[in-house]
């Protein structure tokens, strides 16, 4: 039976991959997608901890699950808003390529 550590390992890897995506991608949409991956990693971490450690050391039961639900909600909302802004930029600039979006710098 995989232990908590394995799940944490999984989440860490997922988080890092998502981060790499954010840092390396050019298309704003893909960056948003990568961020979703990172949030998933968070959720895996939370749920794994919640379900493995309940009852130990003053844990309130299943807070992890609750937090995870919030995270999912926020993530969805964030995604929606981000995509809306991306659309707006696409309309004004005909690109979603973040290294063409650098009117302001310095």
């Amino acid at each position: 039976m995989p232990s908590l550590f394995h799940f944490q390992l999984l989440s860490a890897a997922l988080f890092v991959i998502g981060m790499y995506g954010v840092l390396s991608r050019r298309s704003a949409v893909l960056i948003v997608m990568s961020i979703e991956l990172m949030l998933n990693a968070v959720n895996i971490n939370l749920i794994a901890a919640a379900s493995h450690l309940n009852g130990i050391g003053g844990f309130i039961r299943f807070d992890g699950h609750v937090i995870a639900i919030f995270v999912i909600t926020i993530a969805a909302a964030e995604l929606g808003l981000a995509l809306a802004i991306i659309l707006r930029i696409y309309r004004n600039r005909q690109t979603v390529n973040v290294d063409e979006i650098d009117l302001m710098r310095g």
């Binding site: 840092l23 050019r26 973040v98 290294d99 650098d102 710098r105 310095g106």
Partner: protein, 633 residues
């Protein structure tokens, strides 16, 4: 006598009044100035009488232990600085009394003379204002009982001389001469001030009496005594135009002639001599090494100046160099313990030289001419001037029974007794030279054939004549005051060293020798300038080089000029450049620019690309996590 302090105060009071309200007073305030100094002169007699009358019994008066001179001091607090109390006070002792007489009298005469001489000058009032200020300062200098006050007066006479030399500052020469005079004397003043402060450091008070007691009793270490004496002498050299500080005095002749008569002949320039005489105890302390220096400097000055005077052709400059030379003689005499002789010569020379200057002034005033080569035979057109000038010249030249003769003889005697033969020989040479150039000036200017263009000149007006006459009388007969008149009064020396028998001792062989030398000198002059014999041209030809050196005043001015231009100003230019280039642009602007550059460089890290921002955050995250981890374990 308790009112002696009034003497300077009169003049001090007069000066500002003339400046502010002069134009409303009769004679633009000149009258006020003359009145003040006249009052001073009157007070002098009161003081003298009181002093002769006073005994050690009377308050504020005591007889100092070594000189046993009666001294009366009045002192009151000036101000308290930290833990040091500053006083101003006056001391009245024979030396002070004598100087008082000289200063008040000559100043009075010169101011009266100036009424005529400066008549119609646009800055007439200003002239007299500064004159009063000068008189005040000079009298303070004479009366000061502590070194601080002396220094104050010392500087004040300096600035007055600056103002009067530069009186006609529209003339560039006058402007430069004034600056030169002040700066050169100022160099000496540094020595004076340092010396004073050194004495204070040792003695703990600025009072002269304390300093002298310390010097006498040995409370003052020898090192300090010697150093202080030399430093004071440095100041004296500056004021009394001793070599190598003599360069300013001839140029000072750019001032109005009466000024030259008063300040640069009779009074201010002798302040140095007065200082040395005043501080004699310090010079004498221990084995009196400083006096040897004084003697040497005096001798060198006397010879050098006399030789230059011989080559000079400008009447006033001749007189100026003669002044320097005679100041040298006085120093020499002091250096040879000839205290009395120095003071005596100081007085005699003062009257005679003032007279000569006034006479030269009257010549200048009438003819507008200063070069003796273009004068001649003036005795026909201005007999009075010629007469008084001759009296002065003969007296200074050392023709017997005139004042100068006695005083010079005293000096020579002192040198003869206390210094070795070499000194005496050179001293005799100096006195011979002084007779020679005096005779030259006199005969060249007033005798011989009248030069064309001088026939119509007229003699001095009364206002200028009378002072000259009075001075002439003194220049001729002043010698008698130094003799011993058994019963009534036994000699200047005895007066100066109260009670002690420093009577007048005539040294026959010296007296005769100097008389002969003087007469030879005058005879030569007669031959050359009246009879027109010209064997001296041969001499000129043979000693061409020497002559040129002498005529160029031993190139002192050139050397100084070079130093100022090439060293002082160059250095200051260098410093100014350093200040701007290094201190400012490098050390100040440098860091500022560096920081701005840094800002512009750092600016680039905000690339404008989201992913690089995220990268920064990611790296920051890793770093922070590691840092946190490390700190926590």
């Amino acid at each position: 006598m308790d009112w002696a302090w009034l003497i300077p105060v009169f003049c001090f009071a007069a000066a500002p009044v003339i400046v502010v309200a002069g134009r409303f007073l009769p004679g633009k305030g000149a009258s006020l100035s003359v009145l003040a100094i006249a009052g001073g002169f009157a007070m002098f007699w009161v003081v003298l009488a009181g002093f002769l009358g006073a005994g050690p019994a009377s308050n504020d008066c005591f007889t100092s232990v070594d000189t046993r001179a009666l001294t009366c001091a009045f002192s009151l607090s000036w101000f308290q600085a930290g833990d040091v109390q500053f006083f101003w006070g006056i001391v009245i002792d024979p030396l002070a009394v004598v100087m008082l007489g000289l200063v008040t009298f000559v100043a009075l005469l010169v101011q009266i003379y100036s009424l005529g001489y400066m008549h119609g000058d646009p800055r007439f009032g200003w002239y007299f204002a500064v004159h009063s200020l000068f008189a005040a300062a000079m009298l303070t200098l004479v009366l000061a009982d502590n070194f601080l006050l002396l220094y104050v007066a010392w500087e004040l006479v300096g600035i007055c001389s600056y103002l009067l030399i530069g009186f006609w500052h529209e003339r560039p020469a006058a402007k430069e001469a004034a600056k030169k005079a002040f700066i050169v004397t100022r160099i000496g003043d540094v020595g004076l001030l340092v010396g004073i402060l050194l004495l204070w450091r040792e003695v703990g008070s600025f009072s002269m009496a304390d300093a002298f007691d310390a010097a006498r009793t040995g409370a003052m270490s020898e090192g300090v005594a010697t150093a202080a004496a030399l430093l004071l002498f440095l100041g004296a050299m500056g004021k009394s135009a001793q070599v190598p500080f003599h360069v300013w005095l001839p140029d000072a002749m750019e001032g109005p002639t009466p000024v030259s008569a008063l300040i640069h002949a009779a009074t201010m320039v002798v302040a140095g001599v007065y200082l040395v005489a005043r501080a004699f105890p310090i010079f004498q302390a221990y084995d009196a090494d400083p006096l040897l220096v004084v003697a040497i400097v005096g001798l060198v000055t006397a010879l050098m100046a006399a030789s230059i005077a011989l080559a000079a052709t400008d009447l006033k400059r001749i007189l100026a160099y003669s002044t320097i030379s005679h100041l040298g003689l006085m120093m020499l005499s002091l250096g040879a313990f000839g205290y009395t002789a120095a003071v005596f010569h100081l007085l005699a020379h003062g009257f005679a030289k003032a007279l000569l200057f006034l006479a030269a002034g009257s010549v200048l005033h009438s003819t507008g001419e200063q070069d003796i080569r273009r004068m001649g035979g003036l005795r026909r057109v201005m007999p009075l001037t010629a007469l008084v000038f001759s009296v002065g010249a003969l007296s200074l030249g050392g023709i017997p029974i005139l004042a100068g003769y006695w005083s010079k003889e005293e000096v020579l005697a002192a040198v003869g007794y206390h210094r070795n033969a070499a000194f005496l020989v050179f001293a005799l040479l100096a006195s011979f030279l002084s007779a020679l150039y005096m005779a030259r000036a006199m005969f060249a200017a007033f005798f011989g054939a009248t030069k064309p263009g001088l026939e119509q000149v007229r003699d001095a007006p009364a206002l200028m004549a009378w002072p000259m006459v009075l001075l002439a009388v003194l220049a001729a007969g002043f010698g008698w005051v130094s003799f011993n008149w058994p019963g009534a009064y036994d000699g200047l020396g005895t007066f100066l060293f109260f009670g002690q028998a420093h009577g007048f001792k005539f040294t026959w062989w010296l007296g005769i020798l100097s008389a002969i030398l003087a007469i030879i000198a005058f005879a030569l002059a007669v031959l050359v300038y009246v009879r027109g014999a010209d064997f001296h041209h041969a001499a000129r030809a043979r000693f061409a080089l020497v002559i040129r050196v002498v005529e160029n005043k031993y190139y002192f001015d050139e050397v100084y000029q070079w130093t100022v231009d090439r060293v002082v100003l160059a250095f200051s230019g260098l410093v100014a450049l350093f200040d701007r280039a290094v201190v400012n642009d490098l050390a100040v602007n440098g860091p500022a620019h560096f920081i701005r550059r840094l800002g512009f460089a750092l600016r680039l890290h905000v690339t404008g690309h989201v992913y690089s921002y995220a990268l920064g955050m990611a790296l920051g995250t890793v770093g922070l996590a590691i840092f946190w981890w490390l700190r926590s374990t």
